[in-house]
């Protein structure tokens, strides 16, 4: 019998590396999007990143303080191999790419020819195109450590420089790009000024506290800030991060262990203080978004706080409901990195956090534990409307984003 032998088509990319185009890295996601028919869905990514330190030489030109601005400029002009001016952080402890196994986490060095917009706009567009996103909320990366800066003034200076650069150079490049500007939370009166200054800039849809810090969120010095943010009608996000020097996390000898705990820990502490001190009762119109901690921690904390609260109500007299009831009404959660090893547990988590209204899809692209929209789309226990809500409609409601009629489902 004759066997007809056909030649195979070699794929244009044989090995993905740091120079591979985002659209090639994410080609499978694009394929999935087309199959799923996302063109008729609203897909909003509430947490994606750019690496602002790649452009740090530009960012420091936006520092308000003329002396520091000159110093930063000289630093970047004269020093070779120095880390970004003024930034604290983890220097060389950047093991996120697992020793080069995950190239897009190591670096994004693909070619960008379009000079009409900033390179970060082009890179974000490529990711938006691959995931079929309608909106992408962009966060910085190394700046997530700013809450640990030994000089609180530098947190103020660098937050504002970044916010200026972001709102003047990046967001105007594409109306699909949005931001929750970073506020210098360790200096409350300056945090208020940041809200005033940037809160109405086009593309700014909320405010961010970088969660890794040791200031208690219920401190009286924040009440004016919370009132101001409440009045803007825009949410306040707590963006998680890690801090390996935290004494208990310093016992972890692997990035795996430290990162697994670290990205949840700060938000667990802040949420506990937030709820037990009745901040949702004091500022009922203030919506919070808990970003990049996954969601498995939420049912744990709900149960733990409810259990203890009933025994010690006198220590939290502002509460009119159970702690868990604040956690699934006033609080919203981004989905990534979605823990999904045990589908029963995932279903229970979705139920407990009221995912249908409170869960917001996020990719965290281009980081090593990013999620594609498929993690929601493939959830076996969700119906189509629930998927649509989580992938975009919840975010549209919370942030006031435009939804086209055909995207309502």
């Amino acid at each position: 019998m004759d066997v007809r032998i056909t030649p195979a088509q070699p794929m244009p990319i044989q090995e993905i590396d740091v120079r591979t185009d985002t659209r090639d890295i994410l080609a499978h996601s694009r394929k999935h999007s087309e199959k799923a028919g996302y063109a008729d869905w609203l897909i909003v990514d509430i947490d994606a990143h750019h690496t602002e330190t790649v452009s740090w030489g530009e960012v420091v030109k936006f520092i308000d303080d003329p002396v520091l601005r000159d110093q930063a400029d000289t630093y970047h002009r004269d020093r070779v191999g120095a880390p970004p001016y003024g930034l604290n952080g983890d220097l060389g402890l950047r093991y996120q790419d697992v020793g080069g196994r995950i190239p897009h986490q190591s670096g994004i060095r693909e070619t960008v020819d379009d000079t009409s917009v900033h390179r970060d706009v082009t890179l974000s567009r490529r990711a938006m195109d691959s995931f079929q996103l309608d909106y992408m909320v962009l966060f910085p990366t190394p700046m997530l450590f700013l809450g640990m800066h030994p000089q609180p003034y530098m947190e103020v200076v660098l937050c504002n420089a970044y916010n200026r650069w972001l709102t003047e150079e990046i967001l105007p490049g594409d109306p699909k790009l949005k931001a929750m500007v970073v506020i210098p939370f360790n200096t409350p009166e300056e945090a208020c000024k940041t809200v005033e200054r940037f809160g109405k800039c086009p593309g700014v849809i909320g405010f961010t506290v970088t969660s890794t810090r040791y200031k208690p969120v219920h401190s009286n010095e924040y009440m004016r800030l919370y009132r101001m943010i409440e009045e803007t009608g825009k949410p306040l996000g707590f963006h998680a991060g890690y801090h390996w020097q935290d004494p208990s996390l310093a016992t972890c000898n692997s990035f795996l262990g430290m990162h697994s705990l670290g990205f949840v820990w700060a938000n667990m502490v802040h949420m506990t203080n937030w709820v037990l001190n009745g901040i949702p009762e004091r500022f009922p119109g203030l919506k919070t978004v808990w970003i990049e901690s996954g969601i498995a921690w939420v049912p744990f904390l709900m149960q733990r706080l409810d259990e203890q609260y009933l025994m010690r109500q006198s220590e939290a007299p502002l509460l009119k409901r159970m702690p868990s009831e604040y956690m699934n009404t006033n609080c919203f959660y981004t989905s990534q990195p979605l823990e999904k090893g045990n589908m029963k547990a995932v279903e229970c988590t979705f139920d407990m956090i009221k995912a249908e209204t409170q869960l917001l899809f996020a990719t965290d692209w281009p980081h090593f534990d990013f999620d594609s929209p498929r993690v929601i789309y493939d959830m076996p226990f969700l119906d189509e409307m629930q998927k649509r809500r989580i992938l975009g409609l919840n975010a549209a409601e919370l942030f006031g984003l435009e939804v086209k009629p055909h995207q309502r489902g």
Partner: protein, 122 residues
């Protein structure tokens, strides 16, 4: 079932691979120590392009007789293909994740005849 020609044996590096498309299906054909293996280029985790990832040798932890840890080393001879999306590793020979053997790549039949490497695809 169609027989698809991937290339001549001597066109492969060892270790090496060729990632090809057959209609809608993408397949990675690997050469390791003169043997050929083929896996669907669709990672069981989130559908990433696993066969377009990098090769890494399997990592082991070195333990002393008293169970004390003495760092890590490579298990020479055991090669992994690492999915570039999130780093799931798979043994090139077995297609299994080294830490969770239930997670495995989908195999494709490879035939080597007269110096030609063929795969059988639905």
């Amino acid at each position: 079932m169609q027989t698809v020609r991937v290339g001549r044996v001597n066109e492969f590096e060892d270790p090496g691979r060729k990632v090809v498309a057959v209609g809608e299906t993408e397949i990675g054909v690997f050469c390791l120590d003169g043997e050929f293996y083929a896996w669907v280029n669709d990672c069981p985790h989130q559908g990433g392009p696993v066969c377009q990832g990098r090769f890494f040798t399997k990592v082991l932890e070195v333990l002393g007789a008293d169970q004390s840890s003495h760092g890590r080393t490579y298990e020479e001879g055991t090669l992994h293909i690492v999915c570039p999306w999130h780093g799931f590793e798979y043994d090139v020979r077995t297609g299994k994740h080294p830490g969770a053997p239930d997670i495995a790549l989908t195999p494709v039949t490879v035939q080597v005849q007269d110096g030609e490497v063929h795969i059988l695809v639905d």
